[in-house]
């Protein structure tokens, strides 16, 4: 356990170094969130009755999505891991007395967490002081906030275990492009990063809410905003637990299979 913690810590402090990049990222994400919200505001004004969640809930959803983008972005992958698989560096990794799946898992989680830590605070602070309709509100209560934290940690786990599966498919296909493209385009949309899931048409939404992608940003952001509360929140967290276990199990299985007949590329 200690060595995985070390991997996590090294990666975390390593990623904390890029502060200028983080600052530029903060500005971008803030502007992005503001534009997104202005568009939602226009729709809200056009027809408030058709709005599927409270407007302030949407505001919370979008601001938190931008603040914690690094935790949940499906399209972010570690180039290092792809390289290790396709250029043969993995031979060294396999010689180490560390479980490869856990190592990569810790590494990815740490990078995301470090990016998010650097970026979330300024965005949240500004989001709390912008003028009224766009202002971020506090969570519904202490209990709800606690559920949000739990759900956020699980969401991060689901995202990382999903990207692990994409890494591992590279063992089989060598070129990551194809799988990666489809996984990203589809996953991103179904996770609710283009529009939140409640905005989907009803039948589509019913299916989407059961998929692993709904266990990513959808759950924590909606719990914070109060869109999902009480028993529904507990149920959602159970769903997240289920998908986390399923994806980790699948990933480990695929990896075990792939490593049995791994061909190291390059000489």
């Amino acid at each position: 356990m200690k060595k995985y913690w070390a991997v996590f810590r090294i990666r975390f402090s390593n990623s904390l170094q890029y502060r200028a990049a983080a600052l530029a990222g903060v500005v971008t994400q803030f502007a992005w969130g503001a534009m997104e919200l202005l568009a939602f505001l226009a729709f809200y004004k056009a027809n408030p009755a058709a709005f599927p969640m409270g407007f302030s809930q949407t505001v919370s959803y979008i601001w938190l999505q931008q603040a914690f983008l690094a935790l949940f972005m499906v399209w972010f992958f570690e180039g290092e891991i792809f390289d290790a698989i396709s250029d043969g560096g993995i031979a060294y990794d396999l010689a180490r007395p560390v479980d490869l799946y856990s190592r990569w898992f810790c590494q990815s989680a740490a990078t995301r967490l470090a990016k998010a830590v650097l970026r979330c605070l300024p965005i949240l602070v500004v989001a709390f002081i912008v003028p009224a309709p766009l202002r971020l509100s506090l969570p519904a209560g202490a209990g709800q906030f606690l559920l949000f934290l739990v759900s956020m940690a699980l969401g991060l786990g689901v995202v990382v275990s999903f990207s692990m599966i994409v890494y591992i498919t590279t063992f089989y296909t060598l070129s990551p492009m194809g799988v990666r493209l489809i996984a990203v385009a589809l996953g991103d949309f179904l996770a609710g990063s283009v529009i939140p899931l409640p905005f989907f048409p009803a039948p589509f939404r019913a299916v989407a809410e059961l998929l692993p992608f709904a266990a990513m940003q959808n759950m924590p952001l909606r719990i914070y905003s109060g869109n999902i509360a009480g028993a529904a929140a507990a149920q959602g967290i159970l769903l997240q637990l289920f998908w986390l276990a399923a994806l980790v199990g699948l990933g480990r299985l695929m990896m075990k299979n792939a490593l049995k007949k791994v061909v190291v590329q390059g000489g």
Partner: protein
């Protein structure tokens, strides 16, 4: 110009060497903007219109911006990856050659996979042109042509500014993405949707609305003045400050060393 065509065919040939990868990347480009399109469709199937514009009218904006962007990105890709060129010292070699730096950077890279997005824009146009309820008289077709062509010039200028900034920072600056990728994403609605402040910013500072919102009003017969038809042309003025900025950066350039 002849030299540019030479480069063009060279890049096309080299990218065609890896056909599978080429078409996969193209499909990827297609898919990513498809999810935006799907989001747009979902929003409009819930709300019939926004700020007085219908789904089909909004699609005209989406396709115009997407098409202008993908043309600019396909040919201006060299400026998009310019930080790399600057960082590895390749740019010093450019400076000693007897051609303009802008030309050489322009010719250094072309990315035809970006045409995946262009294809999508064409498909959306195929649907939206008849469905938007516009009667397509010759002057309206000219307007549409101006929107797309001047739009890609504006996007191209944004790439030029982005590259010019790297003379000062060496690293690419992520916040410029707001004006390039962001404009592509947010251009799916007429820019007036975002309120007065944003609209005037996009009119007078970064002239994105000049080739999207104002000519759209002309297309939809909301405004009949010829001025609205010609706003995309006014947007071409943006080339002046962008080029001046690039020159200014170029003069301050100090090599990064090897």
């Amino acid at each position: 110009m002849k030299l540019y065509l030479r480069f063009l065919s060279m890049h096309l040939k080299s990218q065609m060497q890896y056909k599978v990868s080429f078409f996969l990347s193209m499909a990827g480009q297609f898919l990513t903007s498809f999810s935006v399109l799907l989001g747009l469709y979902f929003m409009f199937s819930r709300f019939n219109d926004v700020d007085g514009f219908t789904f089909q009218q909004s699609l005209l904006c989406f396709a115009t911006v997407l098409m202008a962007f993908s043309i600019a990105e396909c040919f201006g890709r060299g400026f998009d990856v310019f930080p790399l060129m600057l960082g590895n010292g390749e740019f010093d070699r450019v400076l000693v050659r007897p051609r303009r730096a802008v030309f050489q950077v322009l010719a250094s890279k072309m990315d035809f996979t970006r045409l995946g997005r262009l294809l999508q824009a064409v498909l959306v146009f195929c649907y939206a042109l008849p469905a938007s309820g516009v009667t397509w008289t010759p002057d309206k077709l000219v307007t549409l042509f101006l929107m797309v062509s001047c739009g890609s010039v504006v996007f191209f200028c944004l790439f030029l500014i982005y590259a010019g900034l790297t003379f000062f920072t060496t690293e690419g600056l992520e916040f410029m993405n707001i004006f390039t990728d962001g404009a592509r994403e947010f251009g799916r609605y007429p820019f007036s949707v975002y309120g007065r402040g944003v609209l005037s910013f996009l009119t007078f500072v970064i002239p994105l609305a000049l080739f999207q919102y104002y000519p759209l009003l002309y297309l939809l017969d909301i405004k009949t003045s010829v001025l609205y038809m010609l706003t995309p042309v006014i947007g071409l003025l943006f080339t002046i400050p962008s080029y001046v900025f690039w020159r200014f950066g170029l003069r301050r350039y100090r090599s990064t060393g090897s």
